[in-house]
């Protein structure tokens, strides 16, 4: 008769398998040059965000200090990206805006995924009329493109960067809800769920401890691929004028600021736009690589 494994040995075995899977994934990720570029660039951006006050030549310009005598100067050694209409150094403001852009993306993605995963998970696990109700609500949010609904909600809440984050999160969760629902629907038929149910685990425990952790990879992929678009959407609202109010160095608002003087003073709008691009492109490269690693079917 085969010796059955003790629970301690089982746990050890499970950890070994997980570790092996992680190492393989890491190998695939590292052998993907593009996602490594994305990751490195993001690490640099994070460092930049923290070091901004020490790197920026005129950090006080991001807090609203103006220099009337240095208005609208083109890029030079003194002002790498030139100055805006009240004489603020654009290079300093772009650097000081990095942290804000990252923060906005993180808040939106976390709020949206928490709402979406909870709603999608409960819908799939409970089934029946709860599923129907929650999914119809999700559908309502999906009938209107995210940007349009985000504009409407943010306008109602009032201008400001916090309301932009709330507004975008409120329209971003349905994607996560749909994804989580489909994942949980297939996972809840698995034997380990039956086992957990058999030994009397509560529904909440089964859903949050046993099912959702197994659904994590696709959700993480979605978080990373969505991050760039969340940053873009926030910048769009800033550009429209619903976002951060002056003198906050928000990139979208800075482009809006430079629009009236475009193209004669092209630098005011151009450099914040490039900054948005660098951040979004890095996330998209990273997300693309993560998708290959965690969802092997997507790339062959």
């Amino acid at each position: 008769m085969a010796r059955s494994l003790s629970s301690k040995e089982l746990r050890h075995k499970a950890r070994e398998v997980q570790w092996e899977a992680f190492r393989r994934g890491l190998y695939r990720f590292r052998s993907n040059a593009l996602s490594m570029i994305g990751l490195s660039s993001l690490i640099i951006l994070v460092i930049l965000a923290f070091a901004a006050p020490y790197i920026a030549p005129y950090p006080e310009d991001a807090r609203g200090k103006t220099h009337v005598t240095e208005r609208l100067l083109p890029p030079s050694g003194e002002h790498l990206f030139g100055t805006d209409k009240v004489g603020r150094d654009i290079f300093s403001r772009v650097i000081m805006g990095t942290g804000l852009a990252l923060r906005v993306g993180i808040v939106i993605i976390f709020l949206a995924s928490i709402i979406g995963v909870t709603i999608g998970g409960i819908a799939a696990y409970a089934g029946g009329w709860i599923d129907d109700l929650l999914m119809r609500i999700t559908d309502i949010f999906l009938t209107v493109p995210a940007l349009v609904l985000a504009i409407a909600i943010t306008a109602a809440l009032g201008k400001g960067i916090t309301n932009v984050m709330i507004g975008i999160s409120l329209v971003w969760w349905p994607g996560f809800a749909r994804l989580t629902r489909s994942l949980v629907l297939s996972l809840k038929e698995e034997a380990f769920v039956e086992a957990a149910d058999g030994i009397g685990s509560s529904h909440a425990r089964i859903l949050f401890r046993h099912i959702l952790p197994n659904a994590l990879s696709p959700i993480i992929v979605k978080m990373s691929t969505d991050f760039g678009f969340a940053v873009l959407t926030a910048a769009a609202l800033g550009f429209i004028g619903l976002g951060a109010q002056p003198p906050t160095p928000e990139w979208g608002a800075m482009i809006n600021d430079g629009r009236e003087r475009f193209p004669s003073e092209w630098w005011i709008a151009t450099f914040p736009g490039l900054a948005i691009f660098v951040m979004v492109f890095s996330w998209n490269l990273l997300g693309d690589g993560l998708r290959d690693v965690l969802d092997p079917r997507s790339r062959r």
Binding site: T143, P145, A152, I240, G252, D288
Partner: protein, 337 residues
């Protein structure tokens, strides 16, 4: 017949969805902490003027009553009045909607053609240089803020090279073609007005191109993945064994199989692009829903915002229904149940 009843059922399912949407937009418009009446009345308005404005727009009644009368009016085609311009929202929408539709249609056409081509090229050169290049290029373009890219294109092609106009749908001096659909290109074809057609196409090209970039990445990715899957099928080996030319195998059989998934993405992206049009319109001074919603949202003018949101909801849902119906034409295996 079968298709007709399927279409009808889908349309009926749309009704509760749009009810939900109207409830959502109504809720949003009534939780606003801002003071739209105060904004519309101006800073010098007295309390009495504001009060009469509130009465005029029905803002003094209880919320459920306001909602019911809002819904009733929607069905009668009365979509409310702008607090700011005092114009009817419905008639404004009639003017602005075709402009956005034309821009979005042109953009999705560009994105569909380029995205599918790039996807086919990637799949045929899997993991070779063209595949990697296509991947980087589409990720590159999708990462730019659309409004910023629009400004750059305006600068390069409109001002520096002077190849294209920098905005609007036509020259200011030109009279638009007789309005039939509101889509200038279509109207000018219908009225044999080739001068207007050329002008409208010339104005449309750059905005539509900029807008199309946003949809390139996902169309390319899906086409590539499904081409690879279809290329693996037995029928492909069979056709090749029979000596069918590669061109026929790929474009007639493989692509047709892969295109069903591409079509789904194109429909989804249509909604995204129509939303992205908000930003592109702002730059190119394109008189569509985008300019309208931006101006209204900055003025807290809620009737137009609600109207625009509902229009977007209707169009997006209809596009999805039409896509599902198009599957059957492309893939005879699909039956509507």
């Amino acid at each position: 017949m079968k298709l007709g009843s399927y279409f009808l059922r889908r349309l009926l399912l749309l009704i509760p969805l749009l009810f939900g949407l109207s409830l959502l937009t109504f809720t949003v418009s009534r939780i606003l902490p801002g003071d739209p009446v105060g904004l519309a009345a101006g800073p010098q308005a007295t309390e009495e003027i504001k009060e009469s404005l509130r009465k005029e727009f029905g803002l003094d009644k209880p919320l459920p009553v306001q909602y019911l009368s809002y819904i009733g009016n929607l069905f009668r085609g009365e979509w409310g009045q702008s607090l700011y311009s005092r114009r009817e929202v419905a008639s404004d929408l009639k003017v602005y909607f075709p402009a956005t539709l034309e821009l979005t249609l042109a953009a999705i056409l560009f994105a569909g053609i380029f995205g599918t081509l790039l996807g086919v090229v990637s799949a045929l050169n899997r993991n070779k240089l063209p595949d990697h290049l296509a991947r980087v290029v589409v990720l590159f373009f999708v990462s730019f803020p659309a409004f910023w890219l629009a400004m750059m294109f305006q600068l390069v092609f409109g001002l520096a090279l002077d190849w294209f106009p920098i905005g609007k749908r036509l020259n200011i001096l030109m009279t638009p073609p007789q309005t039939i659909t509101g889509l200038y290109l279509l109207d000018s074809i219908l009225t044999w007005n080739w001068k207007a057609f050329r002008m409208a196409a010339w104005h449309l090209f750059i905005p539509a191109l900029v807008l199309s970039f946003g949809a390139l990445a996902s169309i390319t990715r899906i086409t590539r993945a499904n081409m690879l899957e279809a290329l693996d099928k037995d029928f492909v080996r069979m056709e090749r064994a029979l000596g069918m030319p590669d061109r026929v195998v790929i474009f007639k059989y493989v692509l047709r199989n892969a295109f069903i998934a591409t079509l789904t993405i194109i429909a989804l992206e249509f909604g995204w692009l129509m939303a992205g049009a908000v930003l592109v319109e702002t730059i190119f001074d394109w008189p569509g829903l985008g300019l309208y919603i931006v101006e209204s949202s900055l003025r807290l003018d809620f009737q137009p915002i609600m109207g625009i949101t509902i229009i977007y909801g209707i169009v997006f849902s209809l596009v999805n229904i039409f896509t599902d119906m198009a599957y059957g034409l492309l893939d005879p295996r699909i039956r509507y149940g």
